[in-house]
Symmetry: C2
Subunit: 181 residues, 2 copies
């Protein structure tokens, strides 16, 4: 496989760190891959834009920080404004179309998706916005299977919340399928 470098960005409370940890665990525990997951906090974090990095590979990863992601997710305008310049040419830029207005062309596939709207309409709880986003990411990248994400969630969250998370993940997968080019 090609090494995949992902950056999930948004505001505190949108669960981008959790999404990154879940993706990394799914890759390692259930897909026999190697992963590194990190957060670098600095003055930008105090301003409100949180960023969480994941590198997934089938061989050793020496440098754990993502310089140029081939997958960049931006869940807020501020996150987009801060991070769109770092995307790797030819990469994939995923934004929530309610929170982010794309302002510039970048050399990337841009996917503007109604993730938050769909989660609120179909589930009504913004807490699973991040899991819907993960569904989009795994569908567009084919990095890990849905079942691997669900196995991680089974170990991390109360069983009473599992069904809602499964629904959110599937909503994301479906949104992505609709825009696959």
């Amino acid at each position: 496989m090609e090494r995949c470098r992902l950056v999930f960005s948004g505001s505190g409370g949108q669960g981008v760190i959790t999404a990154a940890v879940v993706l990394a665990e799914a890759a390692v525990l259930y897909e026999n891959l190697i992963a590194v997951q990190s957060q670098a906090y600095g003055p930008a974090a105090r301003g409100g834009a949180t960023r969480s990095d994941v590198i997934i590979s089938d061989s050793d990863i020496n440098y754990p920080k993502v310089i140029q992601p081939n997958v960049l997710v931006c869940l807020t305008q501020e996150a987009y404004n801060n991070f769109y310049p770092i995307i790797r040419p030819g990469g994939l830029l995923i934004t929530d179309n309610r929170y982010v207005k794309i302002q510039r062309k970048v050399d990337a596939q841009q996917k503007e998706l109604p993730m938050h709207h769909t989660v609120m309409e179909k589930i009504g709880k913004s807490i699973v916005f991040n899991i819907c986003m993960l569904g989009v990411v795994i569908s567009l990248t084919a990095l890990v299977k849905s079942e691997s994400i669900m196995k991680v969630l089974e170990n991390r969250i109360p069983s009473s919340s599992l069904e809602m998370n499964r629904k959110a993940l599937n909503l994301g997968v479906k949104l992505a399928e609709d825009v696959k080019s």
Copy 2:
């Protein structure tokens, strides 16, 4: 301040990643510091020993991975067996005295503390074991204040769980005070 490199290790489900994220956020959001937090997962993670790294500093951090921690926490025997050799000479090694039997002398201050026992006796829920451990760490290192940890928790967990977390944090601070040399 001196740069502090920490490694929290244990088994999946003990919350060492959450503890690391909470500590990093407390340092950045409420203590005006810079932090990097990461997980590197490889074959060892599949074996059961989870490791989570934090670097806290008042100046830029270029390399986010911890090579030699000056603070190493081991919550299981397997984590101890895997990671005790990496501690920085003169560092601080914190273990849970129920789960870990110290087998060798290392050039470090060794603190064997009844964290799990105390949490179970006073609170009865192992889910806050990791927060008690954080209380020990912040008390022995003076890295961040208890109030900063609590502010992060207030943003992350339901208010119904806050009091239990505060109690666990304080139990950890108290355990550490009893062994300060």
